[in-house]
Every structure is written in structure tokens, then in C-alpha cells.
């Protein structure tokens, strides 16, 4: 009969030090959203637009930039990096794309989007302790798998003061995955309604941000866009646990936002 306590003690601490500096975020080798270098685009080239399954690469009217990526629609399938003949779209390891404003996922030349004063007031209470109610509104289970990984010994979300709760009555943050199918629309809205103020909403995964691969069907919506007031958008298909942690800490203003205007700032 094994003594599990001894088993655990013998194996020692498995938790990574990340997000403290020097820690391993556990995402070695993980491919993120493609890096876009508009300078390399060929004139009138639309190869990437044709292959993108979710329409994340939209042709733009601007002559200098033939396509404008919307990372909120990217499902990280890498098809565009294979289709691009000039290397304007290349694979990268950038998966940390959490933003507060939806526009920060769209490629623009403009920069900063400051945190609104009202949001900052709501966030003050949650900086050290946040309770999340997760609702699956029609995902493929990939996001749930990564969310369930947050409580494994490697990431150990509890050490950051963030917990998942069983009831919306105890929740501060509503974390939604999936493109909101028709039968789940009402339960999702009821869950939001059942949360006491102050409350936040996070759209996790490309399906929740913009509908993803399944969006726009006969039974699916296009994510949370016109449904709930979203405080954090985290695209990814699925966003890995480090990206989710980075997003949550960003929401709580414990980490700075790195993506502006569709670009990751160093």
C-alpha cells in the first residue's frame, strides 16, 4: 500500500517559478500566432487570405499593407505561414495575446489603449484573490483541457490567488469558452446575471473571441461579441495554460499588456 504523502514529498515541488523571472513557462517549442511583416508582402498577393479557415486575414484597402491580420480570429493552424510565398507571415512562438480591447487584436498602426478608469476601480478588489466561474458555451474541449491543466502541479493556479468556483454566486470573473451555441446562450446569460457586482468577463479562446472555426453555423454564434461586456480577450486555439495565466494576471494589472495593435511588444 503506497503512502501517497511520502510519494508526493519524495517527488518534491513540481511547480514552476514562472511568471517570476527565471521560471519556465512550460511552453518550449509551442508555436503561437504567425508573425506578420507587411514589408514583405507581394503586391496584390492574396494567397494567405484564401487559405485562412476563419477569415482572420482580411484584405485591406491600404495599398502598403495588402492584408490586415485580425489575431482575434486566428486558430493558429499555420496554414498561412505555409501558403505565404514571400515570408511575410512566419511561424513564431508568440502565444501571449491577451488584450483588454478587441481592437488591440487587429493590426493597426496606432498604439496604446489605456485601461479605463471604471475597469480599474472594479479591479482593485481582485488584485490578490480572484474567483472564476467557467462556462463552456460550445467549445471543442481543447480550451477545457488547458483550463483543467491550470490546477496541475506545474502551473498551480492557486499560488497566484486565483481559484475556480462551482457557483456564479461566488464568482468575480466569468470565463467563457466556445462560440456560444443556441441552446447555451440562455444558460450563459443566466450565469452572468447570477453573478454579483463587481464582475468581469473573459473570452478565452478564438471561439469565444470571434466564433472560431465553428462560428456562424446553424447552431452557433460568433463568440461573446454582442452578448456580454468583455473585459479580456484571449485568442488561441486553444490558448495554452501559460497564456491563460498571463491573461489573468494582465486582467488584474499584475502584468503589463504586451499586445497592442496586433503586435507583441517586447
Amino acid at each position: 500500500m503506497p503512502i501517497w504523502t511520502w510519494f508526493g514529498l519524495r517527488h518534491g515541488a513540481a511547480t514552476t517559478a514562472w511568471p517570476r523571472p527565471g521560471g519556465d513557462d512550460g511552453q518550449a517549442g509551442v508555436l503561437g500566432m504567425p508573425r506578420f511583416d507587411p514589408g514583405r508582402c507581394g503586391a496584390g498577393c492574396r494567397d494567405c487570405v484564401e487559405v485562412c479557415p476563419t477569415g482572420a486575414l482580411a484584405p485591406s484597402a491600404d495599398p502598403r499593407i495588402p492584408v490586415k491580420p485580425d489575431y482575434g480570429r486566428c486558430v493558429v493552424c499555420q496554414l498561412c505561414t505555409e501558403a505565404c510565398p514571400t515570408g511575410a507571415l512566419t511561424p513564431s512562438a508568440e502565444w501571449a495575446y491577451a488584450v483588454r480591447e478587441r481592437d488591440d487584436l487587429r493590426w493597426t498602426q496606432a498604439a496604446a489603449s489605456p485601461v479605463g478608469r471604471e475597469l480599474r476601480q472594479r479591479l482593485r478588489a481582485f488584485r490578490r484573490s480572484l474567483h472564476i466561474r467557467h462556462v463552456d458555451a460550445g467549445s471543442c474541449n481543447g480550451c477545457e483541457s488547458e483550463l483543467q491543466a491550470l490546477n496541475n502541479p506545474f502551473y498551480n493556479l492557486h499560488r497566484l490567488g486565483i481559484f475556480f468556483t462551482p457557483s456564479p454566486r461566488f464568482a468575480d470573473l466569468l470565463l467563457v469558452t466556445g462560440s456560444v451555441t443556441a441552446p447555451l446562450r440562455e444558460p450563459l446569460l443566466n450565469t452572468y446575471e447570477a453573478m454579483p457586482e463587481p464582475r468581469l468577463v473573459m473570452a478565452t479562446g478564438t471561439c469565444a473571441v470571434s466564433g472560431g472555426v465553428a462560428g456562424g453555423g446553424y447552431n452557433t454564434g460568433r463568440g461573446l461579441e454582442d452578448l456580454l461586456p468583455v473585459d479580456l480577450y484571449l485568442p488561441g486555439c486553444p490558448p495554452n495554460p501559460a497564456a491563460i495565466i498571463e491573461g489573468l494576471l494582465l486582467l488584474l494589472e499584475r502584468l503589463p499588456q504586451r499586445s497592442r495593435g496586433g503586435r507583441i511588444e517586447r
Partner: protein
């Protein structure tokens, strides 16, 4: 004044009985009945604390009857008549025939007789009238399908009891040669102790059949379950009180209890009473029908009152008159409060039947849909039966425990031990009773948030509200009500005083140093203490946002999601399965292969204790005897003539012996 009112009552009831038989409008009969009840109520209340002196009533076709209502009889009668009047006013929802009124008139007549007559033969007639009236009321209400012998079972057990009472009365009567109750006090002393014990046992068995002491409580669910709430009010109010009064008079006044038989009787009665209380409430908790649950709870409460009486007997035997008086008084308080509260809940059951058409406990939103007096009344009544402060049920239950806890005053080991064990048993019944009345109130009245429609009728609501307020008032005014029983307790148990139970506004078990409660003060302090939280709640009203209850995202699919009576009782059902022997039966109906289930049939049952063990074999024995004696019905004229001849010779020989 009281005497005149009693006469009025008798006249009114006779007229009601006659008019209901004669086929006149039921309204007139009912009015006469109610008027008579009101008159008697007024009479008995005014008669306290002295009681009503000898009153000769000349009845048509019989010899005159002398009525004498002792103060405790007035007390019990008054408490029983309040809900009875309301019940008769509201009438039975299951029948509009006049047979019910006739039955009610007979029952009330019989009860008055049991309380008041001073002579044995008249007593037995009154006793039988009371039983017969009750049976008539139930028979008038149960439909053809319900006549499977429940009423017959009740009458059989009551007849058994009547035979025991007859035997006991005759035995006491042999001492002085007549059946006058005034002589019975000496008659009891003249008998040897063993004979006194047997007489006492016969009285316990006889009156216990009506009170529901084990094993006689088994007729309660069957009969209550076929009657209406109004009938139940009469059965658990006036009739129960009458039976108790008769038992307490027989054991306390007629049997002196100073020799060893007093201890033995007290011990026997204590055992029977506590076991009745435990079994009664355990089976009541499993019931899902308002009436059956409340009927078994009546048996439990009768058990508690008899336990207090048994404690009084034990204390009297040890010469501790004040404690004996305490026990004796406590039983009266208990039955008084019980009549009010039980009446309120049975009338609530009738009201529920008026809305839903059945008597099952299920969440129908009745409390929400009905006028507010119903909520107040039902809540106070349920609190009282669950022994929650500050209601009268709590007062009497507390007093019962205080009586039992003072068993250490008794000499020897057996007495204190018996009372301690009894206390443990009573604690068990108190706990299960608490759960039972939460079930009644919670499952029967609360819930049902999505049901709409009319609620319980205003008449029933007001009646229940009135009874509930009386329940509270009886507790709050208890220090002053005890004055009414001063003379009674001193007459029954010399050396005891009713005033010993109070100390200013406190209620004490003879001394304030042992323990005390004060519903009077609680009723003042409680609302004052509630002001602060209410104020805070009111102040925060602007910031509140209402959202529906959380059910996992979607609203409740149906009322089936609510708690069901079986779900509430299931834990105890499993825990006490040794007593209950529960059975469950689950059948599935399929469409084709067994995988495609279309319908589920679920059935559940608990097995009664004495039915299969005691009564069924007795019935079978009776059938066998009857089958054997059927041989006499041979149809042969010669055999019949021979039998007549033998009987003649025997009758002629008897005087020679």
C-alpha cells in the same frame, strides 16, 4: 350561569341531531350545533376555576342524569371545543350530507357525557355514543372505495377497550354495590393492591384504546386517512381530551396509589406511554398524507401526556405531592395546547384539500397564495407541535422534561432510572416531532414557486390564524392561566399547588433555582431584538438586485424538482429500517427491447409493527373460531331446539348457584 349555558348546549345539540336526521336543511342543523358548542365553550370557560356543580338534566325517555364538571374537565373541554367549533362551522369538505352533522352532534354529546356524568352506566353509554359518533362522521365521509375495514378496525379496538372499561367499572362497583362515581374513591382504597393494579391496567387498556396507547394507535392512520380534517379536529380535540380525562380520573382519583400498585401502575403506564410516543412519531414522520401524519402525531402527544401522568403516579406513590401535582398539571397543559395546534393544522389540511382536491403533502405554493392569517396560524401551530419556543407546545414539553428530570427525588433505583430512560425516549420523540413538523410545514405549505391560482379559502385561513394566535396567547398568558387549575390540582392531589409552577412572569418546575422559561418575556424581547437586523435589511434595500435562483443555468423544469415527502423522510427510513422494514418497488415499462424505457412505476411502503404481529393473527384466530362455530348453523331445527333447551336449563340453574 355556566349551568344554564350547559343546558343550552345540550338542547342545541339535541335539536341539531334531530333536525339533521329529519331531513331538514343542513344549514339549520349546523347552526344549532355551532350554537350549542359556543354555549358550552362559554360555560366551561366561565366555570373555571371552580367547575360546574351537580346539574340534573332530565332527558326524554330516560332517567335524569347528573352532570358534574370538574375544573380540569372544564379546562380540557374548553381547549377541545375551540377548534371543534371552528371545524363544525367550516364543515367537512368531503361530505355535505347531514349524517356528518348527526355524527358530530353525537360525538359532542358523548364527550360531554364522558366529562360530566357521575354514574357508571351513563358513562358507558356516553363513551359508546362518542365512539359511535366518530365512526358515523368517518363513514359519512369515506367513499365506497374506502370502506376496506378501517372504521371497523377502529370500532373493534374501541369495543375491546369498552369491554375493559366495563370490567373495571364493574369491579370497582362490586365494593359498594353501585356504579356511582362518588363512591369510587373509597372503592379503590377498599380493593387489595393486586386488584387495584389489575383495575388500573384495565382502565389503561380501555381508555388507551381511544388515546392511542400502543398497540391501539394502529387504527389512527386508517381512520384519519379516510376522514376529513374537520373530523380529525373533533377526534384529536374533544374526544382525545375526554379519554384522557377519564383515564386521569380513574388512576388518580379512584385508585389511591399508596401501596405498591401505585408504583407498578406508574411504571407500566410510563413504559406504554413513552413507547407509544416514540412509535407514533416515527410512523408519523413517514406519512405523506396530512391527516394520517397528524393522526399519528395525536397518538404521540397522547403518549407524552400519559407519560407525565405516569410520572405523577410515581411521585404520588413516593409521597412527593408537589411533584405529582406538577406532572398532573403538565399533562393538562400539554393536551390543551395540543388540541389548539392540532386543530389548526387539520383545518389547514382541509383548506389544502379545497385547493388541490387531495390531502397529499406536496409543494403547491399554498402559503404564498393564501391569506396571511393562514401563514401565521399554521406556523405557530407547527411550532407548537414541534415544541419550539415561545409556543404552548414548547411550554408543556419543557414542563414534561422538567418533571421527568426531577426523578432523582424518588427513593431507590428503579424510579429514577425509569424516569431517566423515559426522558431519553421523550427526547427522541421531540427530535423526530421537530423534523415531522418541519416536513408538514415545509413540504406541505412552502415551495411551489411556480404554482398559481386561488389559495386556501378565507374561512379556513381565518380559523387557522385564530387558532395559531390562541396557541401563542395560551403560552404567553400561562402564568395567569394556571390560576384556573388551582382548585383542580389541590382536589386531585392534596399538597400540590398550581401556583408553584409560576414565579411572576416565569414558568418554573416548582422552584426557579432548577430551571425557568418565560414565553411572556420572550414575546416582548424577541421582536425588540429583531428590530436591528430588520432595520439593516430595510436600509440596504436600494442596493439589492434580484435574480432567479441558480439551477445550473436554466430555470427549473418542473415542480418535481422540489423536495418530496419521501426524500425528506428517507434518511430516517433507512436509519430505523429495523422498525420500519421499508420496501420499495420499481418497475419499468419498455417499448420493445429493455433499453427503451417509457415509464417508471415506483412504490414504497413501511410496515406497521403491531398490525402483522398482533392484529392480523387475532383476526385470523377470530375467523377460525367463527368457522368452527359455524358448525352451529347447521340448519337443523332439532339442533336449534336442543340448544334453546340447554340455555333455558342453564339460565334457570344460575340463581340456584
Amino acid at each position: 350561569m355556566s349551568a344554564e349555558l350547559i343546558v343550552l348546549a345540550v338542547i342545541g345539540w339535541s335539536a341539531a341531531a334531530v333536525s339533521s336526521l329529519s331531513g331538514r336543511a343542513a344549514g339549520l342543523s349546523r347552526t344549532l350545533l355551532v350554537a350549542g358548542a359556543l354555549a358550552l365553550l362559554a360555560g366551561t370557560v366561565l366555570a373555571l376555576p371552580d367547575g360546574v356543580g351537580p346539574l340534573r338534566l332530565g332527558l326524554v325517555f330516560t332517567a335524569p342524569v347528573t352532570l358534574r364538571l370538574a375544573p380540569e374537565a372544564c379546562w380540557l373541554l374548553a381547549f377541545g371545543l375551540v377548534p371543534a367549533t371552528l371545524a363544525v362551522t367550516l364543515g367537512s369538505p368531503l361530505t355535505h350530507g347531514r349524517l356528518w352533522i348527526f355524527g358530530a352532534a353525537l360525538t359532542l354529546f358523548g364527550a360531554l357525557g364522558v366529562f360530566g356524568v357521575t354514574e357508571g352506566a351513563a358513562f358507558l353509554i356516553a363513551w359508546e355514543l362518542m365512539s359511535f359518533g366518530g365512526a358515523l362522521m368517518v363513514l359519512s365521509e369515506c367513499d365506497r372505495g374506502g370502506q376496506d375495514g378501517a372504521v371497523l378496525f377502529m370500532l373493534t379496538l374501541l369495543e375491546l377497550g369498552a369491554v375493559c372499561v366495563l370490567a373495571a367499572l364493574l369491579w370497582l362497583g362490586t365494593v359498594h354495590g353501585d356504579l356511582d362515581f362518588a363512591h369510587f374513591a373509597d372503592a379503590g382504597s377498599a380493593l387489595p393492591p393486586t386488584a387495584r393494579y389489575v383495575v388500573g391496567l384495565l382502565f389503561i387498556a380501555g381508555f388507551g384504546a381511544k388515546l392511542g396507547l400502543l398497540p391501539f394507535y394502529e387504527w389512527f392512520p386508517g381512520v384519519y386517512g379516510r376522514a376529513s380534517g374537520a373530523t380529525g379536529v373533533l377526534l384529536s380535540g374533544v374526544v382525545l381530551n375526554a379519554a384522557y380525562f377519564a383515564l386521569s380520573r380513574a388512576l388518580v382519583v379512584w385508585l389511591p396509589g399508596d401501596a405498591g400498585e401505585g408504583f407498578a401502575l406508574g411504571l407500566t403506564l410510563l413504559t406504554l406511554a413513552v413507547l407509544t410516543a416514540i412509535l407514533g412519531i416515527l410512523y408519523a414522520f413517514q406519512e405523506e398524507d396530512w391527516r394520517r401524519l397528524l393522526g399519528l402525531s395525536t397518538a404521540e402527544n397522547a403518549g407524552i401526556a400519559c407519560a407525565a401522568l405516569a410520572a405523577a403516579l410515581l411521585f404520588r406513590h413516593a409521597g412527593l405531592a408537589p411533584l405529582a401535582g406538577l406532572g398532573w398539571l403538565v399533562a393538562l397543559l400539554h393536551l390543551g395546547g395540543h388540541a389548539l395546534a392540532k386543530g389548526a393544522l387539520l383545518l389547514t389540511a382541509d383548506g389544502a384539500h379545497g385547493v388541490t382536491g387531495h390531502y397529499r403533502l406536496c409543494p403547491q405554493g399554498l402559503l404564498r397564495r393564501s391569506p396571511w392569517p393562514l401563514a401565521v396560524g399554521a406556523l405557530f401551530a407547527a411550532m407548537s407541535l414541534a415544541a419550539m419556543p415561545p409556543q404552548i407546545g414548547f411550554v408543556s414539553e419543557w414542563f414534561v422534561f422538567q418533571t421527568v428530570f426531577q426523578g432523582f427525588h424518588l427513593p431507590g433505583l428503579a424510579g429514577p432510572l425509569a424516569l431517566s430512560v423515559a426522558g431519553a425516549g421523550l427526547a427522541l420523540t421531540a427530535a423526530v416531532a421537530f423534523a415531522t413538523f418541519i416536513k408538514v410545514f415545509g413540504v406541505g405549505l412552502l415551495g411551489g414557486g411556480q404554482m398559481n391560482g386561488p389559495g386556501i379559502s378565507a374561512g379556513h385561513a381565518r380559523a387557522v390564524g385564530l387558532l395559531g394566535l390562541l396557541v401563542l396567547a395560551a403560552a404567553v398568558a400561562m402564568p395567569w392561566e394556571l390560576v384556573a387549575l388551582e382548585q383542580a390540582v389541590t382536589a386531585a392531589l392534596p399538597g400540590a399547588h398550581a401556583g408553584a409552577l409560576r414565579s411572576d412572569w416565569l414558568l418554573v418546575p416548582l422552584t426557579a433555582d432548577f430551571a425557568f422559561i418565560s414565553p411572556t418575556k420572550l414575546v416582548i424581547a424577541g421582536p425588540l431584538l429583531a428590530l436591528l437586523p430588520l432595520g439593516l435589511w430595510w436600509a440596504a434595500r436600494a442596493r439589492r438586485r434580484r435574480t432567479p435562483a441558480w439551477y445550473g443555468g436554466l430555470p427549473r423544469t418542473s415542480e418535481q424538482v422540489a423536495i418530496t415527502p419521501l426524500a425528506f423522510s428517507n434518511a430516517l427510513r433507512t436509519f430505523y429500517s429495523l422498525i420500519y422494514r421499508p420496501t420499495e418497488d420499481m418497475r419499468r415499462e419498455h417499448t420493445g427491447l429493455r433499453y427503451f424505457v417509457r415509464r417508471l412505476s415506483f412504490d414504497h411502503r413501511v410496515a406497521p409493527l403491531f398490525g402483522p404481529a398482533l392484529f392480523a393473527p387475532a383476526v385470523r384466530l377470530t375467523y377460525r373460531l367463527a368457522a368452527w362455530m359455524q358448525g352451529l348453523q347447521s340448519g337443523s331445527l332439532n339442533l336449534y331446539l336442543a340448544i334453546i333447551g340447554v340455555m333455558l336449563i342453564l339460565i334457570l340453574l344460575v340463581p340456584l348457584l
